[in-house]
């Protein structure tokens, strides 16, 4: 039995499974998340990320396996677990009948927090979310990025130990994404445990200390972004394009170059420790791609390697 508070995992799942009839949405996954970690669930749509989040968030019962959140079983202690969570859902569910600040106050009440405390926290959180001048606005008048920030502020009203974010930046423009990432960094620095799902590789690389790649309800790989890249991909990637009808035939002529070759509909990827050297050999073989690019390997490449498909299709 764990004795020290800091050593107990925030989340621990063993053989966690969720079935809908014949379909196993989550198929026996094992997860352990220590306090203060930023943990990512990475995978394509339908991989089982959201279902896992719902079970951890104590709003969906598991079919089998063991699950503990803050040492408690969600089946018996749902309200207790949810009292310590902040949840940022995939789709915003703010109340447009209420003004921005009132959305925070009303939500705080669900945690049994006194009205005066809710009001004070609402003002602090509006500052944190950079929405002070929108306090009296209607929710519908906010931009997409502002609504997301308000949803995150709302999820923090109970000062949660764990913040769960399901696809936090989907649908946001690059600038809004960066503002949001900055806010999440700050939370991380304060020691809030972050659990996030995403199908954006750059987001996972930016935010997560550790992540699991999920596909078909199973964990395909686990580790820090850097370790995953080291383990499953060469250091660099050469992207060459010959035109969509010529990529496959050109790839045949590239055989033997680099560690591995991946042919995608729009381009050919060559994995190598030294990308420039491989690109030189490509032209030495008399091939002249219409465009070429040498870049560092990313989680996208890891995912491609593990699942045989691109994350965003």
């Amino acid at each position: 039995m764990p004795t020290a508070a800091h050593s107990s995992p925030v989340i621990s799942a063993v053989g966690l499974t969720k079935r809908y009839g014949e379909l196993a949405a989550v198929d026996g996954i094992d997860i352990e998340v220590p306090p203060g970690e930023a943990f990512g669930l990475l995978g394509p749509n339908g991989a089982g990320k959201s279902t896992t989040m719902r079970m951890v968030g104590a709003v969906s019962t598991r079919t089998s396996g063991d699950l503990r959140v803050l040492g408690l079983d969600p089946d018996t202690h749902g309200p207790e677990i949810r009292s310590q969570l902040g949840v940022v859902p995939q789709e915003d569910n703010l109340d447009p009948e209420l003004r921005v600040r009132d959305n925070l106050i009303v939500y705080g009440r669900y945690f049994g927090i006194p009205r005066a405390t809710c009001a004070r926290r609402a003002d602090e959180l509006l500052a944190f979310a950079q929405l002070e001048d929108k306090a009296r606005s209607k929710v519908d008048d906010l931009s997409g990025g502002m609504k997301r920030r308000l949803t995150i502020a709302r999820a923090l009203v109970n000062e949660p130990r764990v913040l769960m974010l399901d696809e936090p930046t989907t649908g946001l423009d690059p600038q809004a994404r960066h503002v949001l990432w900055d806010r999440l960094f700050r939370l991380k620095e304060r020691g809030t445990t972050l659990i996030l799902t995403t199908h954006y590789m750059d987001e996972a690389e930016q935010l997560c200390d550790r992540l699991v790649v999920v596909d078909h309800g199973r964990i395909m790989a686990e580790g820090s972004p850097a370790a995953l890249i080291r383990e499953h991909s060469a250091r660099e990637v050469v992207e060459v394009r010959f035109g969509s009808d010529r990529n496959a035939s050109a790839a045949a002529q590239l055989a033997g170059l680099g560690d591995r070759i991946e042919v995608l509909p729009d381009r050919v990827l060559l994995y190598a420790e030294d990308g420039e050297a491989v690109l030189e050999q490509v032209s030495r073989r008399g091939l002249h791609p219409t465009t070429s690019l040498v870049r560092r390997a990313s989680l996208e490449d890891v995912f491609l390697r593990l699942t045989g498909r691109s994350l965003i299709e």
């Binding site: 803050l70 408690l72 079983d73 939500y107 669900y110």
Partner: protein
Amino acid sequence: MSGVTTEVPLPPDAATAQALSAAVLPRRFGSWYVAEHQLRAMRSYGWTIVMSGIGTPLMYLLGIGLGLASFLDVPVGFGPDGPVRYVVFVAPALLVSATVTVATEEFTYTVMSGFKWRRVFWGMNASPVAPGQIATGLVLATGARMVFVATAYAALVLAFGAVGRPVAALVLALLGVLAGLAFGMPLLAFAASLKDDRGQFAAVQRFVFTPMFLFSGTFYPLDTLPVWLHWIGWISPLWHATELGRLVSYGSPMSTATALTHLAVLLALAGGGWVVARRIFVGRLRG
């Protein structure tokens, strides 16, 4: 199922201890927090609620009391002391139909909005509040709106002399709320079971509420209608509540057994609807 039991000792963890104490209030008062949210949201259409709550009874009472009643030579309602004025006969039915109208608004589009359009129920669901508490909170808030409408109506009915005693007016208001819930709870269960609005709510308005309003002995006694239309009254909470209201208001003749039957039907509809509605909320939010 998981096969996990609660006997497993909990780790002596500060986080666990905090979780256990933090959920005490939401477990006890979660429904009230939901009601508080709903009532705050109602403020955005507060004027509509107030104006229709006072304006509708005024229009009906003036129109019927001063207008329609002057054409009626034959009395339709009778108390122990003989015939009563038409406006006295019709007032309990009007009051009851006003609270039922609240149910047709709050237990339809509000529910679809909570689950689908604005998804606010999903936000509540992620908090310590449980699905059954969400359903109950919605009922509490709508009940509060019904209390306002019924009280305003009862006060105006009293002012128009359409009910003799203030106590009777108060009981009429309570009956109105009961009728609103008797009609509203099954409607809440129905609305919560719908995944999409394909005009079902408009259909309820046109093909359930309107016929019920016209054929439940509202403007004339039910037995004036041909016998093959009486069933509409029997299944209508509006009729049961109206009959009780006439008993309370001017002593319309009725046996104790009949009065208790009316009351039992209203309580059964409200209670049964509430149980089913809570189950549907749990099923949907905890799937």
